[in-house]
């Protein structure tokens, strides 16, 4: 069992791993050096790493505390996976109010990165649905935090990248969901104008909206992609459509190939195939929640496809103001480099403000994609993308980052100075040392 690796496999870090198994116990700190809570390592870069220090493995805190099937209020320990919540809540008609694109993340990790999903335009971030949590700090303090109690620690811990304390348990408000299915449409679009028009039209009618854009298409087809929108079905609607849970085959990438299997050739072929597979412009679709929300979870360890050097994931958001022009500039830069992954995920975030001081989402457009690491050229490309994003007043997502500069972080997160006051002196991460200049 490799412990303490992030999902991108880059950077590598060496740290002492301690499992936390008792939420009543005091914070288990090493005699010296810093510690950091480690959830399920689904962050791509270094927010979950603490090179040269200690990681506190939180997966051992995996007990539920209570669930009220009338109100949808769930209490559980911080190491419980979102997948486990779905298992107990969906049969009772409840679902996660907000979910990222993998269900294998812990509640603590979802809070610390204040994660978002395909319904951001409706529900905002995960943190908005957190009613309360308990925070352990190195001063021995054990505080229950909510909007009304220890409100400053509540706001700094949501999106606080694990630096303000260790969350032991949380109380969440789940959302009604009558079945395991969603229905909607998958629509081919030819360019960014169409993408933004579809996004605007669908925001009011559909809870879940996301798109994939072919980042290798150039010229006239620049910005072509697939737009997906869906609403959850009630039990009756699902039954009327004869929806059946799919048989999921356990697929896994058994080992890391010696070199990355992702290169210019495979990319172009894959993207073209993906785009032309759908013949009509618009197709009605019925999805099981697994296929809709978590397509990548179907292949465990898919990240190994990139080979031993690992890969970088890049996610930024640009403010609504110039989102059309800035998105185009970013796409052109990526397309010219020929480096990006299969597809860029595109989504328009809504106006809802995020509760955390360092939460990533803001009203505007977000895009996310993978890059196999090809050395300096890859890093140079991402620096160019950063420059475009910063210039536009946007920011980079720490959960996906392994390389942004101190300056890029500072410009993207204007509340950083306020946040610093709440950082626990005994906690630290590779990310914090790299971009925040902390110990």
């Amino acid at each position: 069992m490799t412990q303490g690796e992030s999902w991108g496999g880059y950077p590598k870090a060496a740290q002492t791993f301690r499992n936390v198994r008792d939420r009543h116990a005091a914070l288990s700190l090493p005699p010296d050096g810093t510690a950091l809570a480690f959830g399920n390592g689904r962050s791509y870069g270094d927010v979950c790493l603490n090179d040269g220090g200690t990681l506190l493995g939180m997966r051992g805190l995996d007990r539920f505390i209570s669930f009220d099937a009338e109100t949808g209020v769930l209490e559980c320990e911080a190491g419980v996976l979102l997948a486990d919540i779905i298992d107990i809540a969906l049969p009772k008609g409840w679902f996660l109010p907000v979910t990222p694109g993998t269900k294998f993340v812990t509640v603590g990790g979802a809070i610390a990165n204040d994660v978002h999903g395909k319904n951001h335009h409706r529900e905002g971030t995960f943190g908005r649905h957190v009613l309360a949590f308990e925070l352990l700090r190195s001063d021995g303090g054990r505080r229950v935090c909510s909007a009304g109690e220890n409100a400053d620690l509540f706001a700094t811990t949501i999106g606080g990248l694990g630096l303000t304390g260790v969350v032991t348990w949380a109380r969440l408000q789940l959302k009604r969901m009558g079945s395991a299915f969603l229905a909607g449409e998958q629509i081919k679009f030819g360019g960014l104008n169409e993408f933004f028009a579809l996004s605007e039209a669908s925001a009011a009618t559909h809870e879940y909206v996301v798109s994939w854009i072919d980042c290798l298409a150039r010229g006239a087809s620049l910005g072509r992609g697939l737009f997906m929108r869906a609403n959850a079905l009630s039990a009756d609607e699902a039954a009327a459509r004869g929806a059946k849970a799919p048989i999921v085959l356990p697929l896994a990438m058994p080992l890391t190939p010696p070199i990355s299997l992702v290169n210019g050739l495979t990319l172009r072929a894959f993207n073209a195939a993906y785009f032309y597979r759908q013949r009509t412009r618009e197709a009605a679709r019925l999805w099981h929640y697994g296929a809709f929300h978590y397509p990548l979870d179907a292949i465990s360890n898919w990240n190994r496809i990139y080979g031993p050097k690992g890969f970088l994931q890049y996610q930024c958001v640009v403010p609504a103001r110039d989102q059309r022009a800035v998105s185009e500039a970013l796409l052109k830069e990526i397309s010219r480099s020929g480096q990006g992954s299969f597809l860029v995920v595109f989504k328009v975030f809504g106006e809802t403000t995020s509760p955390g001081l360092l939460s990533f989402p803001m009203a505007g457009t977000t895009l996310a994609l993978d890059f196999p690491i090809k050395g300096a050229t890859t890093f140079a490309l991402l620096d160019r993308l950063d420059a475009i994003v910063c210039e536009a007043g946007g920011r980079i997502y720490p959960a996906k980052d392994a390389r942004m500069s101190v300056e890029t972080f500072r410009r993207g997160y204007p509340r950083l100075e306020e946040f610093r006051k709440f950082v626990d002196p005994r906690l630290g991460s590779s990310f914090a040392r790299r971009v925040m200049g902390t110990a």
Binding site: M1, N19, R21, D22, R23, H24, G60, R63, F64, I65, S66, F67, L74, C76, D87, I88
Partner: protein, 244 residues
């Protein structure tokens, strides 16, 4: 809906096994020493679907109380469909080698206590004419090795007792099953560095639950390939085992 009594309910493997049954609406009678952990586990199993969870905080090293606790389990559940005995310690081998007290304490909690429970529960299940009695032993009991023979011996007794009871009680409708896990990642083994032979408590719990539901009796190695590893180790020459 199964009625399940668990002795040593805070053991990682017992908890993982209980979670599988909770998802199917089981009723539980849980016994363990740590009252806080016990009530945490009870709450967790309820959220996972258990229809009722009764708890009894007790030190299973207090041998005189054991028979009474078995009877409480029977009274609390009505019938016992499954009894799982899971408590035990992983002793410091070196300390035991130089201490009669330390060795005695290990044998009391790992051997005598489970053996007394097996005896009483065997009686109860035989009287019911049905039920499964599961005891957690260990692959370490298959051959005494220099690095952990006290632990191995404490478990070997349970294996022999369970194997015999399995044959004896089968005609009376009782399935006795000795479970021999290999290396399992739990709080008992927190200080070990983990290699590829290690299994998660969750995987082991799922295997045990499946075996119980299939009515298996006799011996269960988990993961299954430990059967072959132990076959080799049992017949390996002493010169080799000396280094293990």
């Amino acid at each position: 809906m199964l009625r399940i009594a668990i002795f040593g309910a805070t053991s990682g493997i017992a908890e993982a096994t209980a979670r599988v049954f909770a998802g199917e609406g089981a009723r539980f009678f849980l016994v363990a020493r740590n009252a806080v952990a016990l009530s945490d586990i009870a709450a967790d199993l309820k959220v996972r679907g258990a229809s009722e969870v009764l708890t009894r905080a007790a030190d299973l090293g207090e041998l005189d109380a054991l028979q009474g606790i078995c009877d409480e389990a029977k009274a609390g559940l009505g019938e016992i469909d499954v009894a799982l005995i899971a408590h035990g310690v992983l002793p410091d081998q070196a300390a035991c080698e130089n201490s009669v007290e330390a060795t005695r304490d290990v044998l009391a909690i790992n051997t005598v206590s489970p053996a007394l429970l097996m005896t009483r529960l065997g009686e109860i299940l035989a009287r019911q004419g049905a039920g499964s009695l599961i005891v957690l032993s260990s692959v370490a009991g298959d051959r005494g090795r220099p690095s952990n023979y006290v632990y191995g011996a404490s478990k070997a007794a349970l294996s022999a007792l369970g194997e015999g009871m399995a044959l004896k009680l089968a005609p009376q409708g009782v399935n006795v099953l000795v479970v021999k896990p290999g290396f399992v990642d739990t709080k008992m083994t927190a200080d070990f560095s983990k290699g590829p032979l290690w299994a998660s408590a969750r995987d082991v719990g799922e295997v045990i639950a499946a075996a119980v539901k299939a009515g298996k009796r006799g011996t269960l190695y988990t993961p299954f390939w430990w059967r072959y590893i132990m076959l080799v180790i049992r017949f390996a020459p002493g010169a080799l085992v000396r280094r293990m």
